[in-house]
């Protein structure tokens, strides 16, 4: 009995092994792409007009079709299924055998460019699921790119002018939007821009895991993420501070643009760049304002409390502000930023703006400066009483600026603890307290408003100037 038991095991497992080896071998010799190649052969034979073509088609042997691109460090096997991509006879065929649309392949022969350099997808894969890599279980970071974003691939070799001239202007439009919507107020590109957001230099070639995909609708890939993120940043990243002000149709353009920001450069003999390709900063004040400031300060005419930043964003182009604030003060704010708030430092070593550009920018901001000077305030003439100042502050100012002068966090007033306010000329602060900022929520505290005497004001200002030392 015992030996028979072992013999039965031997027999049965031998049979199982044999069967599975055969099935596995069949799976190896009859892959998905062979089916398409057989269809291709059949269709070519049917469509052939002359005998030579027919003969050639009959000689077709199924094999993995691959394009080896040494300099691009790619291997593309897409044509194992997409057999007819270069064949005009297949113009009316169905996918995957259909000929490539348009005449792109004339100047971009597949044997030099391959497929994935424009279309993405996994070139090495030999089955549809993994080659197109649409689902996350394929673990490929760059699924085939939807055609509406395909222009992001063109900029690897071409400049915007050439593309726009040929009618492919999504990318240039996207770049323009990027320039004008103030994206660089928070995001650095080529080293220039604010520090609030992430650097965008290679955002187009970041792997999927770089992006929080949790709330993305539809396929969880980079393309959908960008599109939906431009539609509503907080729907994807609840804690995001990103401010976005674009029309729905503009999201695709912006997505195309950011997807074109890729790591690595094409080899020299592929590149055809003559004109501009990157968004370089213009140096007129208005353009600079649009590129760096507009996302937060909008028109600059309104001060408003922003729920995203959780603080009030001042109206920097309002005459009431410009009347009291001199150029030196504004320059200091622009160059050093306001520590403790979202306002970035813009000097060359931080935000990356040159002195000339900052001057141009300030010239633009201050263009509506009224000619009338504010009435002077003789701050030095008062012997100030800090204790009284504190009492006054706690009752009248703390309502909006907070007890510690911190501002933000639900308080309507600005942060008074930051170095810019602390380092400002006390006379400037006193005038601000006295006259308020008309059309904003800062009321005049002088005699015509709340009823502070000049002495009250001097006391409060001197107290405010000591606030950074308070914990």
């Amino acid at each position: 009995m015992r030996n028979r038991f072992f013999l039965w095991i031997l027999f049965l497992s031998g049979a199982v092994l044999f069967v599975f080896t055969l099935i596995a071998a069949y799976r190896e010799i009859a892959p998905e792409w062979k089916r398409y190649q057989a269809q291709y052969k059949e269709q070519i034979i049917k469509l052939a007009k002359d005998d030579a073509t027919k003969k050639k088609a009959k000689e077709l042997v199924p094999a993995v079709q691959q394009i080896y691109l040494g300099t691009l460090n790619r291997i593309d096997r897409c044509m194992s299924c997409h057999m007819g991509v270069e064949n005009p006879m297949m113009a009316n065929a169905k996918l995957p055998l259909k000929q490539h649309s348009g005449d792109y392949l004339k100047n971009h022969p597949p044997d030099k460019f391959g497929c994935t350099v424009c279309h993405y997808g996994q070139g090495r894969a030999t089955n549809k699921k993994e080659a197109h890599a649409a689902t996350r279980d394929t673990h490929w970071d760059f699924p085939t790119i939807p055609l509406k974003y395909i222009q992001s691939s063109c900029t690897q070799c071409h400049d915007y002018e050439m593309l726009s001239a040929k009618g492919y202007d999504n990318i240039a439009k996207g770049a323009k939007l990027f320039m004008e919507k103030g994206c660089r107020g928070c995001h650095k590109l080529n080293g220039i821009g604010g520090a609030l957001g992430k650097k965008l230099d290679v955002v187009g070639s970041q792997p999927i895991a770089y992006f929080p995909m949790r709330f993305v609708e539809g396929d969880r890939n980079t393309y959908n993420w960008h599109k939906q993120h431009f539609t509503d940043p907080r729907a994807l990243v609840p804690e995001s501070e990103m401010k976005i002000n674009v029309k729905p149709e503009e999201t695709d353009l912006l997505a195309t643009y950011v997807l074109s920001l890729r790591a690595g450069e094409m080899p020299k003999d592929y590149r055809r760049i003559k004109g501009t390709q990157t968004v370089e900063k213009p140096d007129e004040g208005e353009a600079l304002y649009r590129m760096f400031c507009i996302a937060c300060h909008t028109t600059g005419k309104d001060s408003y409390f922003d729920e995203i930043f959780n603080r009030t964003i001042p109206a920097i182009m309002k005459p009431a502000f410009l009347k009291t604030a001199d150029e030196k003060y504004i320059k200091k704010v622009v160059e050093d930023g306001r520590a403790g708030t979202q306002m970035t430092s813009w000097k060359a070593t931080a935000g990356g703006l040159t002195g000339v550009e900052i001057n141009n920018l300030i010239a633009y901001i201050t263009k509506d400066r009224p000619s009338a000077k504010p009435e002077r305030f003789d701050f030095a003439g008062f012997k100030t009483d800090l204790k009284r100042g504190e009492e006054l502050y706690n009752i009248r100012c703390a309502l909006c600026h907070g007890k510690k002068g911190q501002g933000g966090e639900g308080f309507l007033g600005l942060n008074l603890r930051n170095p810019v306010v602390q380092g400002a000329d006390p006379e400037f602060l006193a005038i601000t307290v006295r006259d308020g900022r008309s059309e904003t929520s800062m009321p005049p505290f002088g005699k015509k408003g709340v009823g502070f005497t000049d002495r009250d004001i001097a006391d409060v200002v001197s107290y405010v100037k000591t606030m950074s030392k308070k914990k």
């Binding site: 027999f11 055969l22 190896e28 691959q66 080896y68 270069e86 392949l105």
Partner: protein, 158 residues
Amino acid sequence: MSNETHEKTGMSRRDFLGLASLGAAVISSLTVLAGTFRMFKANVRYEESTKFKIGKAEEFPAGTVKKLDDKGVFILSKDDGIYAISAICTHLGCIVNQVDWGFQCPCHGSRYNEHGKVIGGPAPRSLEWLEISEAVDGSLEVDTAKSVPVGTKLKLYA
């Protein structure tokens, strides 16, 4: 040997089960082995394709001789057509040079005439003529993996 032991041992009875299981084991192991050997044959090559484009026909007016160093091919154009001769010496695979009277191999002194026919040295065969054809986009294509009979030229209509 003796019959006694034959009766006594299970294996020597060669019952059906023993044979069948031994057969199953051997056959299935052989199948696995066969698949294993097949695995060594690569399905793809990690090198440039043997088929490559050399440009439009206009770039090769009659009388042109062009050596493509990286591919090891001579492209020659005559009045009656264009043809490609392999630059790989048939002796041990060196690259031949073009000289007045044809081709000369620098390694072991094989000599070929202008049609690639071997005329001296250790080379066993003449240089191969390679298939040259017109691709869909109108440019010429050479395939180093496909040889054609000596004298096959592609007629140009231009």
